[in-house]
Amino acid sequence: MELFGELAPSVVVGTAALAALYFWAAHRLGRRPRRRQVAAFVCALLVMFLALTGPLDELEDARLFTAHMLQHLLLTLVVPPLLLAGLPDWMLRPVMLSRPVRPLAAFFTKPLVAFLSFALIFTLAHHPLFYDLMCRNEAVHITFHLLFLTTGVMLWWPLLSPMAEFPRLSYPMQILYLFLLMIPMTAVGAPITMDRNVVYPWYAEGPHPWGISPIEDQVLGGLLMWVGQGLYMICVFTAVFRKWAQHEDRDNPPAERTTADVRILRPVRKPGV
């Protein structure tokens, strides 16, 4: 098995085009994205590139289910948030607010629509019927990857929207949103992990790399999608909660410390006394 085969031309072209578009747009609009945003955008492209071509792609073609699941998770859970973090609002506005796009953008960034679209695409993609088609037909495969990226961006929009016109959810709703996301993710990951048979015929048909049996591979891949994804989401949730607590404390400083409280570290002096 060759880990560094040829680069997939579609991926190289796509990534390059996205990068070119980003810097062209910045140049055209005469503004410079913040350094953090550029870094995020470059990271997004880098992760996308590594997910779609190179060793991971080779392993996936060599019928390693786990590699394929890792690829899907990168495309849906890592690339989209990085993309959104990398896009400044002024760069999006001319496109998103243009006459044909605006109503569509307003509809597809609605949390419920975004959530359901993502859940539908993600569930369908892992149904044996479509999954097998995806493995056998490169065009279907590319289509699904593009769908993952687009619905992924939609999914993350309510959490990371850069534009006030299509705003983020409030923090508690963001947490509920993440919580509900566990339902489709578990519904996809758990049955694959628990199944005693090879779910996708594609993996039973050919040789498997490194002498892993298809069923072991399937359990590992299923777990990656179910538990790995869950742990990732917990990290996201932690970040959201932290932002929430800080935000509320900053906007309305809590006045919970009072003179009547016992203080143990050092006596606190009243200001102005």
């Binding site: 149904h127 590992l220 932690t238 006045a255 016992v262």
Partner: protein
């Protein structure tokens, strides 16, 4: 500058006064409903405790025969079921949370007062129903043997199948739990909306009392966990009453379907019981330490994190089923992760107490003991999380020790602490501290004497759920010691009940703020007036009442209860009784629950009673819907209550639909797992795709009509609104007609529910969805009739909007079902 505590002196009737028996039966006041819950749950605690004493007496000596094996099975099953579903949950959510939510967040009542009453009456109906087996057994009614449920509190199928449990025992358990599930979900929905929507204006989430945080997270857990249990119970019901094979391995069913469904519910259930206890402790410790709660944001964070994790750990109850090493390892890791948020809590509690000015009241003693006992239970929990160790401990007394430390030493201690802490507020009288301390020390000694030796017994191999054991096993001494411990606990509880009775008779009258409390419930009189707050509080800081009393370090007063404010409030209180409009009492919740009870009884006795019960239920729903003229109105004109964001009813519908998502996910997952397990007979190839595509199209179009109907009502075009509504209902009827045709067709082709695995899962899934459509059609027709009577105008379009939410949801579910069941019907034979 520390102002003296200045609780508002509110003269006038408090919530317990007046009304008579009928007043209690029709009450919708959250405080009265809470008291009903509390009294019922305390009585059931006596029942569950007596069962525990019977168990311990039987196990006192080897070869003992106080109970027969059959009775022992019933007693330990009911001990577990009673303590979990009928004592701990109702005491925490039904009693304390119900009483305290509006008082702590500064509201006058819960979001849906009648649903609150309904939850209680359903709870009572379920509790009574569970115990009916005893009546039928004693009176020797019926032709089938019966008795109390006897398959353990987690009632593993296929042990509960009629083949192995032929008596009515399991039927009482199954239907009783279904009723209790409805009650819990309704209560959770109610409390969720109340906390989210009705907090005082200044009370952001990060300023809520920690108990409110705990209850908020608990309600979400209930909403998203109970549907899985409901699905499992419905399958069991179908198996036992209609001869399906959901749990019958000989017909191809998987032997662990029940375990998956039960523990997906069951592990969150552990936190449904534990989180409110965490909340109670987090209220008691700061008050008696005279310090704010340490690490408030982290405390809230860890609550939510526990909720997150609790859905990913159910497999640790199933290590012994042989899920395979990788799944075991995963569940082991996720289970161990729970130690992190729990550890955060324990350390924060310790830090809260650290250096404080402690007052060792009984409540404080229970709270401190909670930390220790719960940590012991948590440590053995980490042991279970490791799959290889758990395989040694499964079904041994080690497990019994573990969950009694968590639920008894943990949760129950917290509940008792909460009794001593909040009883003054609830009853207006102080529980006796001397008796309380007697009770505390007796309980600590008795509890540890009973349950600590179980760790050893378990390691020495004593299995749980055996009704007796042989003399030479080396277990006799410790079992004797444990029973002595249990008797000491019994004495402790006698002291507790005596304390309550004495208090109610002639306890010391409680001031409004007897403990120098920190949260808003202490700012009103004890017991509170029916309307809770004469002037709704602002709630501008954490520990709002504390800030009101003592000001902040910066000198500013928090909530605006300065001297002038207090006078104004007193004035307002004088006029409050006349001006504050509280929800009117209603008899229908009671009737509704009665109908449900009749349906349960009818299912076991005489089918015609089911129809009678169903009619009572339907009539109560309709009566409730039209009881208030304001039905569906956007917001009453002079509503003094503060709402955030969306209307309560809409928020309630969203919460309900969230719960429904889990319900359908469980059903669909079962279908997906079962469709390839067919042994014989027709399978998914029988499905008629063209016909169903047509009805799918019709259903989608009906959603469009629904949108048009809402738009019409909103712009005040009643006529077209009614037309579109009827059109939606008509399309729904066409869909249902298609389904009736489809089912008849399959039936004629020989596919019955009982035929095979495919038949039962298909009919259950699609039929359940059809039932939802049917309910939707009834709803729409009712709305259309109301429209013809001129009761729906643009001001009341909310009623249409809520029905529309439901209708669209049902359509979306159908798209998923149509895709997964019909379009992807390829059958893979393993």
């Amino acid at each position: 500058m520390a102002a003296q505590p200045k609780p508002l002196p509110v003269e006038g009737p408090h919530y317990l006064e007046g009304g008579g028996i009928l007043g209690w039966l029709t009450t919708v006041d959250h405080k009265r409903v809470a008291v009903l819950y509390g009294v019922t749950a305390l009585l059931l605690m006596l029942v569950g405790g007596t069962e525990a004493m019977l168990i311990r007496t039987q196990l006192m000596r080897p070869d003992n025969h106080v109970l027969t094996a059959a009775w022992y099975n019933q007693i330990f099953t009911m001990h577990g079921t009673t303590m979990i579903f009928l004592v701990i949950m109702p005491l925490e959510t039904g009693f304390f949370a119900n009483f305290l939510i509006p008082l702590q967040i500064g509201a006058r009542d819960v979001a849906f007062p009648r649903i609150n009453a309904l939850s209680y009456w359903l709870f009572l109906a379920g509790a009574v129903f569970m115990h009916l087996g005893l009546v039928t057994h004693v009176l020797n009614l019926g032709t089938v043997p019966s008795g109390l449920p006897n398959a353990g509190w987690f009632g593993y199928a296929n042990l509960t199948e009629s083949q192995y449990s032929p008596g009515l025992n399991i039927d009482f358990w199954d239907i009783g739990l279904l009723i209790l599930g409805v009650s819990s979900v309704l209560a959770a929905l109610n409390f969720f909306v109340t906390i989210v929507n009705m907090r005082a204006p200044g009370m952001t989430f990060m300023r809520m009392p920690m108990f409110m945080w705990a209850i908020l997270v608990t309600t979400i857990l209930i909403l998203l966990a109970f549907p899985a249990l409901t699905v499992g119970l419905i399958f069991l019901f179908l198996d036992r009453f209609f001869g399906t094979h959901f749990y019958r391995v000989t017909a191809g069913a998987t032997p662990i379907l029940w375990q998956h469904l039960f523990w997906i519910f069951g592990h969150p259930e552990v936190y449904i019981m534990a989180l409110p206890a965490f909340g109670m402790i987090s209220e008691i410790l700061p008050v008696f330490s005279r310090k704010p709660l340490f690490g408030y944001p982290m405390m809230a964070y860890s609550l939510v994190l526990i909720a997150f994790l609790s859905y990913g750990v159910w497999g640790h109850h199933m290590f012994a089923t042989g899920m395979g090493p990788i799944a075991d390892a995963t569940f082991a890791i996720t289970s161990m992760l729970i130690a992190i948020p729990t550890g955060i809590k324990v350390f924060s509690w310790i830090a809260t107490v650290w250096g404080g000015r402690l007052r060792f009241t009984t409540a404080m003693l229970f709270a401190l003991a909670f930390i220790i006992e719960f940590t012991i239970g948590g440590l053995s929990g980490i042991m279970h999380a490791s799959a290889p160790i758990d395989l040694q401990q499964t079904d041994s007394y080690f497990v019994v020790a573990h969950f009694h430390y968590v639920l008894g030493g943990g949760v129950l201690f917290a509940i008792l602490g909460a009794f001593y802490y909040w009883c003054p507020k609830i009853s207006g009288r102080m529980l006796d501290e001397t008796l309380g301390k007697w009770q505390f020390w007796l309980l600590v000694i008795g509890f540890n004497l009973t349950f600590f030796p179980m760790h050893w017994l378990g390691t020495w191999g004593m299995p749980r759920r055996i009704y007796t054991y042989a003399p030479g096993m080396g277990w006799s001494t410790l079992n004797f010691v444990e029973t002595i411990g249990a008797y000491i606990q019994a004495v402790s509880f006698i002291v507790f009940f005596a304390n309550i009775l004495l208090t109610l008779r002639r306890g010391e009258k409680a001031a409004a703020d007897p403990w120098d409390g920190r949260t808003l419930e202490w700012s009103v009189a004890s017991p509170p007036p029916a309307y809770n707050f004469a002037v709704l509080p602002e709630g501008g800081s954490r520990d709002d009442f504390w800030v009101q009393k003592y000001g902040t370090l910066a000198g500013a007063h928090g909530g605006g209860s300065s001297a002038a404010g207090a006078t104004a409030a007193a004035h307002a209180a004088a006029e409050a009784a006349e001006h504050i409009h509280m929800p009117a009492p209603s008899l229908y919740p009671l009737l509704f629950a009665l109908g449900v009870f009749l349906m349960g009884v009818g299912a076991l006795a005489w089918l015609r009673i089911v129809i009678l019960g169903g009619m009572v239920v339907a009539l109560s729903i309709i009566a409730m819907a039209f009881e208030y003229p304001a039905h569906g109105e956007e917001a009453a004109e002079s509503e003094p209550v503060f709402y955030r964001g969306v209307d309560n009813r809409k928020a309630g519908m969203w919460a309900f639909l969230g719960s429904e998502c889990v319900f359908f996910t469980a059903l669909i997952s079962t279908y997906m797992v079962y469709k390839s397990r067919n042994l014989a007979g027709p399978d998914a190839q029988i499905l008629n795709i063209p016909l169903t595509s047509f009805s799918t199209f019709i259903l989608l179009m009906s959603s469009l009509l629904m949108v048009l109907a809402l738009a019409a009502f909103r712009r005040g075009d009643d006529k077209w609104g009614r037309i579109w509504l009827l059109g939606t209902a008509g399309f729904g009827c066409i869909f249902l007609g298609g389904q009736v045709y489809e089912f008849t067709d399959f039936y004629l082709q020989g596919l019955y529910m009982q035929t095979n695995i495919f038949g039962q899962t298909f009919y259950t899934l699609v039929g359940t969805h059809g039932f939802h459509v049917f309910i939707g059609v009834c709803w729409l027709v009712t709305l259309a009739i109301a429209g013809f009577l001129g009761k729906i105008d643009s001001k009341r379009s909310l009623a249409v909007e809520i029905a529309g939410l439901y209708w669209h949801f049902v359509d979306v579910v159908w798209i998923v079902i149509f895709t997964l069941v019909y379009l992807m019907r390829t059958v893979k034979h393993a």
